[in-house]
């Protein structure tokens, strides 16, 4: 298993290299340099600026220079935030996004699976129908709709929860709920479909016929299969949580890295764009690895390198 894990990690490195190159290339095609402002600068100053931020020289030169510094772990200075390194900016922002993402993840998975199980076990009852409808609405609501609704209701209307900022655990509630809404609904749908399917399968019927208690039937077979099905969704789920956070962070003023996905591009802050992309790529590779390992652990039929049953 360890060799498998290491192999996957190593396989991720060329991916990261390609990511760095592709983003680097794309960015150079964008119009507008990073220093345009309301006041046009005299040429001496513009020249000074270009020299300071290593925008001189040929494209090839800049690219090689960039790769060299990357290898040293130096993501370079930000263009927009004078005097700050990209690594520093991300060091502050990434943990916040991870916290928010983890909270939303837990909510989505626990809530989604829970609701899906409840619905699947009580097919065609009022509970099942309302959960089905609710999750349908949930996958149809963009995050800004959910966010606006939550702010109006819980922030202003009831006044229980702060409508923004990140000062304590209570502040995380509304943003995490907003971020988790769509994934939760989708997970509930997946689970519900899975549970309904499994309940009918032969081996479950056999187990019941053999007199195995209902609860055990549920726990061992249904739950495990439902989890497996939802886990196929974990990879995209993480992606959604990380990138979807840019709207949530903007609405709720949460200091995460989601906003940089957008602002770094619109500001032409090249080093920050590259830094953010690389962090994201690393997280995706790690997440996929984790999911694969989890999958292998949960489903012995797929265990890599093991004998077939």
């Amino acid at each position: 298993m360890i060799r498998y894990a290491l192999g996957r990690v190593l396989a991720g490195i060329p991916v990261l290299w390609v990511v760095a190159t592709v983003t680097f290339a794309l960015l150079r095609f964008l119009p507008g340099g990073p220093f345009d402002k309301e006041r046009v600068l005299p040429p001496e100053i513009r020249h000074n600026l270009e020299r300071r931020y290593a925008l001189e020289g040929t494209l090839a030169h800049q690219y090689v220079d960039y790769l060299e510094r990357l290898a040293r772990g130096d993501l370079g200075p930000s263009y927009k935030y004078v005097g700050r390194d990209v690594a520093d900016i991300l060091r502050d922002a990434v943990p916040v996004s991870l916290e928010l993402g983890a909270a939303a993840f837990a909510l989505a998975v626990v809530g989604g699976i829970g609701l899906g199980l409840a619905a699947g076990a009580r097919r065609d009852t009022a509970v099942d129908r309302s959960i089905a409808l609710g999750s349908l609405v949930g996958v149809s609501a963009p995050s800004f709709v959910v966010g606006a609704g939550l702010i109006l209701c819980f922030g202003l209307g009831l006044g229980w929860l702060p409508a923004g900022l990140w000062e304590g655990p209570l502040y995380a509630v509304l943003p995490a709920c907003t971020l988790a809404a769509l994934p939760l609904a989708y997970a509930a749908q997946l689970t519900r479909a899975q549970v309904a399917g499994v309940m009918d399968q032969d081996y479950v019927r056999t187990a019941r016929a053999l007199g195995v208690p209902e609860a055990r039937v549920r726990r061992r077979h249904v739950l495990r299969n439902a989890l497996l099905a939802v886990m196929t969704y974990f990879g995209p789920l993480l992606a959604i949580l990380l990138t979807g956070s840019f709207v949530v962070e903007r609405i709720f003023a949460v200091p995460g890295m989601g906003r940089y996905f957008v602002t770094a591009v619109t500001n032409r802050d090249y080093p920050l764009v590259l830094g953010v992309t690389l962090v994201y790529a690393v997280l995706v590779v790690l997440a996929n690895l984790a999911v694969d390992l989890l999958y292998a652990w949960l489903d012995p039929r797929i265990r890599v390198g093991g004998a077939e049953r």
Binding site: G12, P14, V15, L16, V18, V19, V22, T23, L26, L27, F29, L30, P31, L136, V137, V139, S140, A141, P142, S143, F144, V145, A148, I151, L152, L156, G235, A239, L242, T243, F246, V247, R250, F261, V262, A264, V265, T266, V273, V276, T277, Y280, A281, V284, V285
Partner: protein, 277 residues
């Protein structure tokens, strides 16, 4: 198709109808300004009220619907086309080409899709200089979103093609010496059309969602035209004082997505029960 599917179809058709001809019903042009009516609440004269420039919101929603649906359909068409080509190539040829193409998919998955979309929009916006302004933006959005979405389709197509290769009639066709192109076209494609169609039915709402989110933060369609997302953004700024400005665009988006999801679910049940888009 079950009852819910019909409901979805009705919703989708109603929205499409409104988008195409709704503002003629209302009698206002989407860009007719009337400062005296600025920010008016819903009334008989203006069914959904007016925005800050006194433009009728119902007319704006209809025009926004045109834009949102156009972008979504364009993006979906592109995603399907790209995904079909990519996936079929990988699945049919197999071997090292397949491995390489799948590596490409890994790389694309490792890129944050928001960032890539934003980048692509800017690059395309600068590159497509020949077109008039609105179409340039629409094209940039559709291409960027289509590109962001094709990978899922590619994976699906590849799996389907791989499976189809094992089918008896395909083996027979190959044995009889038919060219790969012909086999793909006549034998494989008809069989994978159903799941693809279902996939399309789900891609459209995903594109609407993506476009409205981008427009919400100001990167989507540009003024004076609007999409549901930009209308929602306008409304968000005045959420407390003029809730009608955000309420109706959100309802429109919700209905569109709901309709397409219902339709898609029903189609899947009917046409391709084993595949999840």
């Amino acid at each position: 198709m079950n009852a819910r599917g019909w409901v979805g179809l009705v919703i989708v058709l109603a929205l499409a109808g409104l988008a195409l001809a709704g503002d003629r019903l209302a009698g206002y042009r989407f860009d007719a300004q009337d400062t005296a009516q600025a920010l008016a609440a819903p009334s008989l004269a203006h069914w959904l009220g007016c925005d800050a420039l006194g433009r009728d919101l119902f007319a704006r929603l209809c025009e926004g619907g045109r834009v949102s649906l156009l972008v979504a359909v364009g993006a979906t068409a592109l995603a399907l086309a790209l995904g079909l080509g990519y996936g079929a190539l990988a699945g049919w040829v197999g071997g090292r080409l397949d491995a390489l193409l799948m590596r490409g998919v890994d790389v694309i998955y490792a890129l944050p899709d928001v960032l890539v979309t934003v980048l692509l929009i800017e690059v395309l916006q600068a590159a497509l200089t020949g077109l008039p302004d609105l179409w340039r933006r629409l094209a940039a959005l559709a291409v960027a979103l289509g590109f962001a979405g094709f990978v899922g389709v590619a994976r699906l197509v590849r799996a389907l093609v791989l499976q189809a290769r094992e089918e008896v009639w395909v083996e027979a066709a190959r044995a009889s010496g038919a060219s790969p192109g012909r086999i793909l076209l006549r034998h494989v494609l008809p069989n994978i059309a159903a799941p693809l169609f279902v996939s399309a039915a789900f891609r459209i709402p995903a594109a609407i969602l993506a476009e409205s989110t981008l427009s919400f933060i100001g990167l989507g369609i540009q003024p004076p035209f609007s999409s549901w997302g930009t209308l929602a953004n306008d409304g968000f700024e005045a959420m407390r004082s003029y809730p009608h400005l955000i309420f109706f665009p959100c309802v429109a988006i919700l209905c569109a997505l709901l309709g397409f999801h219902l339709l898609g679910e029903a189609l899947r049940e009917r046409l391709a029960p084993r595949f999840r888009a």
